[in-house]
């Protein structure tokens, strides 16, 4: 039985991407302080745990990164939320992956695991989902441009099923999506990165520039223009 959260609890669900971004960016330690500040829960679903831990434990290149995520779970920073609404996930996946046709074939653009976080967040009334992944985000927030994007990339006509596209987007329209770069922005505002401010009058700007680009270069889907916009906004007090 899936239950809605009580109003006093703030919950964020994490997709795989932002955790990878933060670990690779050497910024994962921020999550502990952010969680304290939020006074709620940071959840991952079993599929996200599999990608973050179980799978890389079998790959030497990312074994230590997996151990870092295990530590985050052991320390209670991340919690695994097991009660995934499987039926909802399947329905959403079916809608997403039959929304576009190319050469007469439906295009599977989203993987089931990626849908778990968002479907569970919606089900229990979480405050948001942290997702660096561009495709699912675009599909939820801007589905008409998704068609144009696919056509541009394949140089072929993509036939959309507008009803399915809209059904998918409307089911998920109430989900707030943020990215790892916004978490870093919150950390900056909270002063959690102040130890890194270099000497000089533009120290804050340099820190912000460095840390935002670091996030991009480790996997957060964000444009250069967005980084500029974030910088301007965060530097204003």
């Amino acid at each position: 039985m899936v239950q809605k959260v009580t109003s006093s609890e703030t919950i964020l669900f994490f997709d795989t991407g932002p955790i990878i971004t933060l670990v690779m960016s050497r910024l994962a330690h921020l999550l502990l302080e952010l969680k304290k500040k939020m006074n709620g829960h940071f959840y991952i679903t079993p599929a996200v745990k599999y990608e973050l831990i179980d799978r890389p434990l079998t790959v030497r290149r990312f074994e230590f990164e997996a151990l870092q995520v295990i530590k985050m779970i052991r320390d209670g920073v991340l919690e695994v939320y097991e009660n995934v609404p499987r039926q909802n996930v399947s329905e959403l996946i079916e809608l997403a992956n039959t929304s576009f046709r190319l050469d007469g074939k439906t295009m599977d653009v989203i993987q089931e695991g990626e849908m778990e976080s968002i479907a569970t967040a919606l089900q229990i009334g979480a405050a948001g989902v942290v997702m660096d992944e561009r495709t699912l985000r675009l599909f939820i927030e801007n589905n008409r441009d998704m068609k144009a994007l696919l056509e541009m990339r394949f140089q072929k006509t993509v036939t959309p099923d507008l009803k399915k596209m809209d059904a998918f987007s409307s089911k998920l329209q109430d989900v707030t999506i943020i990215r790892s770069i916004e978490l870093v922005g919150v950390a900056y505002r909270l002063g959690l990165l102040d130890d890194y401010i270099p000497d000089g009058k533009n120290g804050r700007e340099q820190l912000l520039d460095a840390v935002l680009w670091n996030t991009k270069f480790n996997g957060c889907a964000v444009t250069e223009e967005e980084i500029q916009e974030l910088k301007q906004f965060l530097l204003k007090r």
Partner: protein, 185 residues
């Protein structure tokens, strides 16, 4: 095997044979172009056979210079054999030929490791990144190529593959949402 997939694999094999028939270094770039062409079919069909051939072609491209003359002759022979078997729907012999072709690349790869990865792993990452540029999600692309999300994200983040598409929600609005969640003014 789906008719369209078979047609595409036969096209890829025939083209590879054509490129490799006479060993000229200048031709090798054509293999990369061919594997780029094949990746579109991977994105649409998500079929293991087509993935296998696409990764193989890119691996041959990367391993080209270290394949010895004897192996090169075997490589050509097995490409011909794979094509002929597939034309006759003889899937057992076809799969055996693909395995021999992979063994040739693997032998070469163990001699010339590229950035501590074998050539085929590098090929899977490269082709996985190409799938991202076609609009597939990281999970989809990594899953198809048999990669972990860590592998693909780490590599793709250094390319333009993760560049966002059109932006509807302004960065400032998203930032404000994040600040609100954390109760920060």
């Amino acid at each position: 095997m789906d008719v369209e997939i078979k047609k595409e694999i036969l096209f890829d094999l025939a083209k590879s044979i054509d490129i490799l028939k006479i060993r000229e270094k200048s031709d090798v770039e054509q293999l990369r172009v061919l594997s780029d062409h094949a990746i579109e079919h991977v994105a649409v069909y998500k079929d293991l056979d087509i993935i296998s051939v696409t990764v193989l072609i890119y691996s041959i491209y990367k391993a080209y210079s270290c394949i010895g003359d004897k192996d090169y002759a075997t490589l050509l022979k097995e490409l011909e054999r794979a094509r002929s078997s597939l034309e006759k729907n003889q899937f057992g012999p076809y799969n055996r030929s693909i395995k021999v072709l992979y063994d040739i690349v693997r032998r070469c790869s163990s001699e010339t490791k590229e950035h501590l990865q074998d050539v085929m792993q590098a090929a899977r990452i490269k082709k996985g990144t190409a799938l991202l540029t076609k609009g597939l999600s990281i999970g989809q692309a990594a899953g198809l190529m048999g990669l972990s999300n860590w592998d693909l994200q780490q590599y793709a983040a250094k390319t333009t593959a993760l560049e966002s598409g059109p932006v509807k929600v302004p960065a400032k609005s998203r930032m404000l949402s994040a600040l609100k969640i954390f109760g920060v003014r």
